[in-house]
């Protein structure tokens, strides 16, 4: 048994009324702009990395609909526990693009003081929690934050992002189980992009889908077309609303595809075929959404290209603002380990110098 895949955008560009979130023209254009911005950021960052101007990058091309569609469903007070591939969501949290780009450079323009690799950002004001590399550790944390919100009487929801590979971890199992037992306002959003680095999801688990794993924890799992921003928005909006109203957790599996490499260190030609990529490229969420907006008469003529160009320029401006900013000071290395610096770090600080170790 597999769950039905929910899709709103039909192949012909029209929309299934049953799943139509009925967004305004402005909303649709906003979504579209953010998807283009995310794609533009990706394309520029990949070049920056190749040129050695940033050290590393995790692209999300192909997953824009899942990122932007779900992120757009969030409300002001909601909390976000992202993975390293979910900077798209940050773009919807009033998170200035410079903050993202500065983190890629890890210099003084990085609010995280160059502590982490690119793509591991956070922003307290936006309630976007610090990303870590260990896969899926954010899931039980998101349950705890949701529990805390409930205890404090805050009617908010918490969304936690992870991948198909993350569903195999003990953190996923514990997070899902605790959420079911405590009925926390948690939405588990799995971007099933078909791969965990080189491992296809068919070798990740023998279950028919990620979504159906929710049954093992006593709550609902939903399988949605992850390349369809409107379907993703619709199911995420409903799940978040249910969570805020005390309806408990939901697992959403967004079925999508990682069009690029796992990261700038990965060579996907080693484990997947050109045909497969070609197949999925036909379903490129940006192409599909453009189609729909054209059909709906919301963008006409060369408008889509104009918007894409605007997005590229916005990214370029951010890069200009952040690149070449001064490096982080050596002493910052021993700060923020504790609230107050203990004696041993005060002593170790003396060992730092402008030169190498």
């Amino acid at each position: 048994m597999g769950l039905r895949l929910l899709t709103a955008l039909r192949d012909d560009g029209t929309i299934d009324p049953a799943l139509d979130p009925a967004l305004s023209r402005e909303d649709l254009l906003f979504l579209f702009r953010k998807m283009l911005l995310l794609r533009a950021l990706d394309e520029k960052a990949v070049l920056l990395q190749r040129a050695g101007r940033i050290g590393f990058y995790v692209p999300s091309s192909g997953q824009e609909a899942a990122e932007i569609g779900s992120g757009y469903a969030l409300r002001e007070g909601d909390w976000v526990f992202p993975s390293y591939r979910d900077h798209g969501v940050a773009l919807l949290r009033g998170y200035p693009l410079e903050t993202l780009v500065g983190q890629l450079f890890g210099n003084a323009s990085d609010a995280m003081r160059g502590r982490q690799m690119p793509n591991h950002w956070c922003d307290r004001a936006a309630r976007v929690v610090s990303v870590s590399s260990p896969v899926a550790t954010q899931l039980p944390q998101a349950v705890g934050a949701g529990y805390a919100a409930k205890l404090c009487g805050d009617r908010i929801a918490v969304i936690a992002y992870f991948g198909d590979g993350g569903s195999s971890t003990g953190d996923f199992h514990a997070g899902m189980n605790f959420a079911g037992v405590y009925q926390t306002p948690t939405v588990f959003f799995c971007s099933n992009n078909q791969y965990a680095i080189s491992l296809p999801v068919s070798l990740q688990t023998a279950s028919g889908s990620i979504a159906e794993k929710a049954a093992a924890y006593g709550f609902e799992g939903i399988r949605v077309d992850g390349n369809d921003p409107l379907a993703v928005y619709r199911v995420t909006r409903d799940a978040l609303a249910r969570a805020r109203e005390g309806g408990g957790p939901t697992l959403i599996e967004a079925v999508t595809y990682r069009m690029g490499p796992h990261s700038s260190s990965d060579d996907p030609t080693r484990y997947r075929s050109g045909e497969e990529i070609a197949e999925w490229t036909k379903k490129d969420p940006i192409t599909r959404f453009t189609e729909h907006l054209r059909k709906a008469g919301i963008v006409g003529g060369g408008e889509a290209e104009t918007l894409a160009e605007e997005a590229r320029e916005e990214v370029l401006r951010a890069v200009k603002a952040c690149e070449g900013v001064s490096p982080v000071p050596p002493e910052s290395m021993v700060e923020d380990v504790y609230a107050e610096m203990p004696w041993h770090l005060v002593e170790q600080r003396k060992l730092l110098s402008p030169d190498e170790g």
């Binding site: 929690v129 944390q141 805390a148 953190d171 380990v337």
Partner: protein
Amino acid sequence: MATMTLVQAIRDALSVEMERNPRVVLLGEDIGRNGGVFRVTEGLWERFGPERVLDTPLAEVGIVGTAIGMALYGLRPVAEIQFADFIYPAFDQIVSELAKFRYRSAGQFPAPVVIRAPSGGGIKGGLYHSQSPEAYFVHTAGLTVVMPSTPADGKGLLVSAMRSPDPVIFLEPKALYRTAKGEVPEGEYDVPLGKARTVREGTDVSIITYGAMVPVGEGAAAEAEKEGVSVEITDLRTLWPLDVEAVDRSVQKTGRAVVLHEAPRTCGLGAEVATLVQERSFLHLKAPVARVTGFDTPFPYSLERKYMPGVRRTLDAVRTAVNF
């Protein structure tokens, strides 16, 4: 003042702080209706309700992961790991997440979680109900590691831990849970983290120890006294960041140091203390810093009393130092 056992003192710390601060919540296995397998949380579930005293499913990774999320949101969670031996399924959440949240977020997301765990031998618990894992956490930057040896410190240090801006691993010497009795100030009371306690003054040898080994050190000191050897005992209380001034002061006075703990020897806290002593007090040393510790074996069931350091081995080390 009231006379309490260590268990009562720790319970008192929890209830006083839960009264004072509605953001304090407890979570762990069997801590609610059952009051904890050592009864530390007895009565708190009835008093503060299941929303603030959570019985959790059997998953330490979930307990610590959930506690971290609670702390990020603004609560002050106190997680209980039923036995320190069962903390390892949560090791990734502790080492990769809890210890690093403040650093990697440049201070935006501190995670002030307290993790309580009964630690050490003495109840014939064998391999998995006897371990002393403090060295794993002392080696992990970002954590504060605490172990009390008296009821008063049990209360005062735990209250400080619950108010600390940083995550604290609070290890409770289960051998002393009911055997350690003493006067404990009622109501508001705290003992600062990072400060050692001089258990007794002495001039010939410094014993540096903590937790359930403090009484063992006292036993050895009493024996040594009969032989005319004056032993000073320092109870570290906070294992890391430790009170290095107290250690320096004592060792530079006596010129001889014995580090005493029940955890395994190799790469244990004794190695760190011995290294700090020889780094900082080299010219004062009249003898090598000695280690009296548990063995580098799993913790045995039948031979527990031979595994754990006793007065015999401690006294031998004191004598060796004096006669070096």
